[in-house]
Subunit: 305 residues, 2 copies
């Protein structure tokens, strides 16, 4: 069985892990978000791709959901004394990846090749594809002006209400090698429980990707990133409100109804099933909080059925 | 009293420390070598400048004579698993400096301003001036062809006999801000016990620097980097031989006779005093191994007298 998961953020990484655990090695392809990539201390950081890589290779810090378990901060302790910014935490082992990637990108290697090489070195059983090798950056419109995504999320702690989201580089960003094929040829496509505005949309905004998913709608299952009206992780519910959507799992479903035929909701939201059906989505009710292996297996089983 | 020390390598850093300890804060200016600067893992490394900085601010690893005392290697342990070179050791705290410098250089800041900023942040009592802000690189001619300096020294452990030394970028490399003034206006100029071919020469090769030292010859004291026919640190004696010089302190003196009026030799080399005098240099005999504070004070006293 070939499965393609469209995944951004921590929710995307956890969904990818759920699928990887349920599938045979090589069966899962993850298409990852690069819209929140950033430059920090002059290094090229790819937070979403790295969170997937770390999660699928058992390196992830389980407490944070990002970064490397047991990582140290010797470089960070020293570099902030040299006047460098201190608001974006980068552990030492995590930095090794950023330093190497920065060197390889400067040498002209595409992000997709670099990512595949790291995944192979770390024995990752799944394929991880950046949505695009071209520059694509997520900007957040706020009352204080438009902010780069990480400035809004990390530096300002997502405190500024979101008036809009813009993807620099689209149209024009070409799908990374294998992305359209992974969507066209998969037996099942999963839209991970990721923020649709800043995690899924920057993937879908790449030239041709949204249409490629839409034509596969019958085989697409989405998983709700909101349970009982609360975001599992991150600032999603506030964004639903300020962007004019219903602030619950139905609000998300409305955003994804043209792409997916089925929609996983938690039993806490079973009462929303009728509203989900009204959007043309078949509701699948299963405990949807991907908090441990049992929960991950349960969601994977429903999604892959 | 204003003193300017022309210094490369570990011997240069130790001489600078000897002078700093003997002088009041602000009295010492060190002109440092950039010929062995290199790019590693895509980062801009300045080994000689950093050895001086670390030595003059008490950060130096006393066992190696380079790097930061007590440094860790978390980044290095991880990055070599990503396929990056493992032959140049970079500790975590050391890397912080390289990352920050690389970012600032890419942003257009000159090396001299970056170096001054770091020295100020670390409370360095002395002034450290890169010989030039322009690109100057030392190449070593060997039977295997010409090698970048660090490849020859570190990767191949200085095992290839040296057939010649070339400085890429000269003529044309302009003296860094303050370099010519520091030489013209000093009460005393010290040529540190550094390898003349690969540590002093790349400083003196910068446009105008050799002439600026030469016209101050009467106030210039050199310190022998060879004691009893053995190099204190590094591959100097072998270079003296393959480059056609007498392989002892007199061979060094001959290289520096047009620049210095006096020459410090160790009591182990007191028997060479007549040969030194024959070159037109006044020999000054004092224990010259800069191994501890007492030895440093003794050499500094003689040099500054």
């Amino acid at each position: 069985m070939r499965v393609t998961c469209i995944a951004g953020g921590v929710g995307g990484a956890r969904m990818a892990l759920a699928l990887q655990e349920a599938l045979a090695p090589g069966e899962l392809t993850v298409v990852g978000n690069v819209g929140d990539d950033t430059e920090h201390w002059g290094l090229q950081i790819a937070p979403d791709l790295d969170t997937v890589l770390y999660t699928l290779t058992g390196r992830i810090d389980p407490a944070n959901g990002w970064g490397v378990a047991g990582d140290t901060r010797a470089v960070m302790d020293e570099i902030t004394g040299l006047g460098e910014d201190d608001w974006f935490i980068l552990g030492d082992r995590d930095l090794a990846l950023h330093i190497s990637r920065t060197r390889k990108l400067a040498a002209g290697e595409p992000l997709s090749a670099i990512t595949a090489d790291v995944a192979a070195r770390w024995g990752c059983p799944s394929t991880l594809l950046p949505a695009t090798d071209d520059r694509l950056r997520t900007w957040i419109a706020t009352d204080d002006g438009e902010l780069p995504f990480q400035e809004w999320l990390v530096r300002r702690r997502a405190a500024d209400p979101v008036a809009g989201v813009r993807f620099e580089g689209v149209p024009g960003a070409r799908p990374g090698p294998g992305v359209l094929e992974a969507i066209a040829e998969a037996d099942r496509i999963v839209l991970a429980p990721s923020n649709p505005f800043v995690s899924l949309d920057p993937i879908l905004a790449v030239d041709g990707v949204r249409d490629a998913v839409r034509v596969r709608r019958a085989d697409v299952v989405a998983v709700a990133p909101v349970i009982g009206g609360r975001t599992v992780k991150g600032p999603l519910v506030g964004m639903l409100e300020t962007l004019g959507h219903r602030p619950d799992a139905v609000g998300i479903a409305a955003c994804l109804a043209d792409l997916a035929a089925a929609y996983v909701v938690d039993p806490a939201d079973a009462g929303l099933a009728t509203d989900v059906e009204a959007l043309g989505l078949r509701p699948l009710v299963v405990p949807a909080l991907l908090k441990d292996a049992t929960a991950r297996a349960g969601v994977a089983q429903v999604v892959l059925a």
